[in-house]
Subunit: 358 residues, 4 copies
């Protein structure tokens, strides 16, 4: 594949990160507020004996936490990725890089470093690559393997972000053939494939298609956290693209709420990452009780990453402490027990799930 | 039928339009807020290949959107109707004119032009006439055909607005024999007949009666948008008719919410227009997922119409873009697919529908 | 029965009326807000042909509206009762007088006139007397007949107000034997007996007991309107009776909401008056759709009564206009049809009724 | 057991009481707001004949009210415990002392008096001791009997407070073997054993384990009142322990709401005390209608206790008056009748219970 010098992809990444830091780009309504884990007054084990480790695509994570795909693709992001990766290394959790499109399509050493820094800073951590489904349709297997090699990835995430593409003036809105492309790469790639949304969730039927296509994990990235439709609305506003702004705003809160999406996906796949508005270790615990393997967070790591690796580690350890507490008071000594923890579903999520999953 | 010179009907039209532009005449609670379309992360088609066209009473519309019956009947409205009609022509959607009573009963060339301008400006668009059910009882078939001829109508809407009539001091509150009149005109008229409410919705039993009476389409015009009871309350207040004002205000939010009414009507008729508080292409998408053939809007087109045809076209294209996005992210390549799109019903609408339709 | 000169009962009446006029003595939550009558777009009759008349304990009312038991027992209230009675006479609706205890127990001509004025002002209206259940236990049949004779009553209401009695420092809290007393008077009295609450509603079991005891009608007087517990809390506060104030305040919103109570009572008795927070003709329509025979209002008539009979008539005509409109748009030409009108129950009332009546 | 001089436990008690008096340490959401007792308009007994007495672990209480375990363990608390005990003695209700750990482990006469004062002030009242489950694991039976003897206790409460321990920097988070320890002490101790939470409630499975372990009563101490997680968050904030503060705050409202916990526990045990956010006699009545034997309050007695025994008696008499009123208007002449009183469950509690208890 011939490398280009164009920097549209690069600049977009920069725009995005700036908007995410400056504007209100979070929705609410993950549905976790409707999940009530049941208190266990008698945990019957020592808090220090809680085991957070979890099998993840053949490997083991020290805790069921994922730093979701975010950055890379602009020299400015090298620092961020270094901090995130070093923290993943130190704490033993997984980390995804942002879309590698820029790295694959542009010929720029500095830009490439924004990806490669990750493996340098995290020689042992579980690191996975990232390619958009729309791009996947156009790449041959060799190009996809380049993405893996670029960061010596343990897995590759293929992101589904068609709402965002539809709101972008320059968006790639050809979704035709994506599933076939995912099926092909799932069977041929040297590493496991994770299918992921980016904030609108994955419904049960889609999870079924993805499972049949052979993906190794599904990351729900549901409604309730970072809203890409909202982010693109801000970008559109900045360039007076009022129709895009209007559409982006209208669909700001579109999608399957993360809790509901988790419930839908675990009916089809046994390795589900719950993300989209996950903000605490208690959210992670709820997601796991709903059947997820791990919880993922993107935006909450962004600000710590600008401050460096220690700040990211701090944030991860907060999550770990919160998750441990949740495990303690639900009487769940390990993640498998937490997956069987009792809960009640209330409100909209109960109504939604009752209609979707009966 | 002998033409009169009286201008009571004419002035009322003028009053109405002024009040609608100046006062709060919208209610909330269409029920669309309770309809959650399910996100499709993998649409599997190209956004540009979305087909919005829809069969409509033998014809085809470029998009499932209707400019609801509004104006005509006063020379002031000629400009508005010209703008609306030209936009319908340009975009290929349907348009209704306002009540033709004034046109049929009064002898005034300028006034008549407020209707005829529509066909002049829209030689090819789907245009339909409008007569009140209370008037229909009194007209012979020849008079009704005059309404059709007046604008070379493709269909005729018969409006049911008895709450409004009951609130008007001068209202025509004789509803006796309306159904028979509708049945007669449905079987004898040269064009299809659409039965429509004007903001209070149509329940399943009424839809059944109308279907059995042979109407070709039902426009629900449900609760949640423009409130005629509210409008008449303002008119009553202006003339110190305090009892009418009181009643009008009390019934401001009366009726079957548009989403519920759509669900009720599609059980009885296969050509249902959802209107009443439809404000975005996403509302139209929801209505279609509930089984409607098309979505209709009245008030949202009023202000653009005062600015001219281009502004109306802009508004229609906004709706189209919103609807296309909804179709894309529900994986619905055409309107038929959208009618089969999955959704969940929450809140009051779920409770209401459960009790009404089981 | 020997007449006393003590005026404690008399002063209490005066206190009450003053507090009701000056303080916030209304609760919310009648449940009518959860009752959604179904719109009928095609009423198929002339609005002027609506028949509001209703059979009521052998007689006929011009409209299904009752002026609930309120005043009498203090010379100050003569004027109020005259206005109310004259309005009942003019409009053909029913009216109850306030508790006749003072009239029976005290020897005071002026005071007596506060009751007798009612029949003077309303020679033909349906007028009913009022005695507390706690008093009934102590009176012999002759005394009860005196109450009937005092106003030439068409019926006698026996009120159940034990929450109020419990909050009053001087309250009569002996409820033992009330049912037997009601049974006795129901079988022996010369006129029909109405059992009524005063703001806390009547549940199905109680309605069953009352029906078996032979009462001719039940007036639910449910939660959601005037709160006697709240009124007594104000009286207690005025005399620094802080425990009573506390209890009165705690039970301010106690009771079966009027809509729910109506549903419960009509399962046991076919002549049910719905009262307690009924404020509009639409509330009356809802109550009747739930199965009531008529709707009753107390507090809303108090202020008009201070202004005279015309003001009360105005208020009644407002209610009539509102009720007629509700009947028109539910397609109910008479009260019997309205009793069969369709509705949906939402929210708390749906949940409550589902648990109480299945 | 060797007595220590360390005063960490002592100081903690002091911290707690100060924070409880100064900060917002109450959550909401006991679920009592969702419990609607059904009004009985015809109680059919004399209010003065209401019998509040209840069997309680072999003894009889004058009213089904418990002063929950609070203080002792610091000389400052002697005054408080004296006031509480004297009031329990005067009113014939039960009272628990706070954790006796300090009394068992430290060698300090003044401190010891803070416990022993209770029996001195209340020679006849039902008084029970208190030991943490985490401590119980480490004590031999002799030590536990010392706790009983210390106050000549009628029963011993074993508290389960692992969420609090998990939030405390110095917390004892070894829950391993607690159930066995409870089982042992339940079978061997000279007095009945009460298992109690401290604000997060007890779920049905835990209640089952405790019942099988032989405890004589369960005190639910559910979510909705004093929040120990919140209290520890304040303590953590004061010493800049930000992670603990964060976790404490996150779990501020954790647990099974008191009403739901009561419903869950009475399915397993027939002697259940409902506590946690019980604030009025109406709450107590609701708890009893849900199946509880008695209601318990802690925090509401704290401020009166600082003012002396009379103030506590006043507060108890308020509760009694409120409870009597509730019994009167539900037609419950004694506590057994109240346990059979009818109610409806609404809202979240209904949803929660439906999923937990079907
Ligand atoms: C700054 C930022 C950049 C992102 N970039 C990518 C990306 O390049 N590829 C991708 O698959 N998802 C990307 N995401 C989406 C996240 O991976 C994730 O699915 C979602 O944001 C999780 O929600 P949260 O931010 O609410 O925790 C990005 C998110 C953020 C906040
Ligand atoms: C200005 C205005 C005039 C209207 N005039 C008529 C009319 O003459 N005949 C009729 O059937 N409906 C009339 N309607 C009602 C609409 O056709 C329609 O049923 C309803 O208003 C749709 O709701 P929306 O305004 O909330 O979109 C009018 C509505 C408006 C806003
Ligand atoms: C001023 C006033 C006085 C009342 N006096 C009596 C009374 O003497 N006897 C009685 O049975 N009910 C009495 N009631 C209660 C009403 O009859 C009725 O049951 C209840 O208040 C109806 O509710 P509403 O006031 O919300 O319409 C009185 C109510 C009011 C407002
Ligand atoms: C000041 C205070 C001290 C407490 N100390 C103890 C204690 O030592 N042991 C115990 O089992 N519970 C203790 N508790 C918890 C109560 O016994 C009880 O379970 C809970 O607080 C009841 O909730 P309420 O305060 O919302 O009424 C204490 C509560 C308070 C308010």
């Amino acid at each position: 594949m011939a490398k280009k010098n164009s920097s549209e992809t690069e600049d977009r990444k920069d725009d995005h990160i700036r908007i995410i830091q400056e504007k209100d780009v979070e929705t609410s309504g993950t549905g976790f507020e409707d999940v009530r884990l049941v208190h266990e007054a008698l945990p019957e084990f020592h808090h220090d004996d809680i085991d957070l480790s979890v099998d993840f695509l053949g490997d083991e994570l020290a805790a069921p936490i994922v730093i979701e795909s975010m950055t890379g693709g602009h020299p400015n992001t090298t620092k961020l990725n270094r901090a995130l990766a070093a923290a993943a290394e130190e704490t033993g959790i997984a980390m995804g890089v942002g879309s590698q499109r820029a790295g694959l399509e542009l010929d720029d050493e500095d830009l490439l470093e924004s990806y490669t820094v990750v493996r340098d800073a995290a020689p042992n951590a579980y690191i996975y690559g990232n390619i958009g489904a729309a791009q996947l349709r156009e790449y041959d297997l060799g190009t996809v393997e380049q993405a893996v090699e670029m960061i010596d990835a343990d897995a590759l995430a293929v992101h589904l972000n068609f709402l965002q593409e539809a709101v972008q003036p320059e968006g790639d809105v050809n979704a035709d053939g994506c599933l076939a492309a995912i099926e092909q790469v799932s069977s041929a790639l040297s590493v496991p494939v994770i299918a992921k949304e980016t904030g609108n969730g994955i419904a049960q039927d889609t999870a079924k298609s993805l499972t049949e296509a052979g993906v190794d994990a599904i990351d729900v990235a549901g409604k309730g956290g970072t809203t890409w439709s909202g982010i693109e609305a801000y970008r559109a506003a900045a360039v007076n693209a009022s129709r895009q702004e209007r559409v982006g705003t209208l669909f700001r809160s579109w999608g399957v709420p993360t809790a509901a999406s988790t419930i839908e996906c675990v009916r089809e796949h046994d390795c589900v990452i719950a993300s989209g508005g996950v903000r605490t270790g208690l959210d992670i615990a709820k997601a796991i009780a709903l059947g997820a393997r791990a919880g993922g967070l993107a935006k909450p790591f962004l600000k710590p990453a600008t401050r460096g690796s220690d700040a990211v580690v701090e944030r991860i350890e907060d999550l770990v402490a919160e998750l441990q507490t949740a495990m303690f008071v639900t009487g769940s000594q390990d993640v498998a027990a937490l997956q069987n923890a009792e809960y009640a579903l209330l409100g909209d999520t109960r109504e939604y799930v009752a209609q979707r999953c009966d």
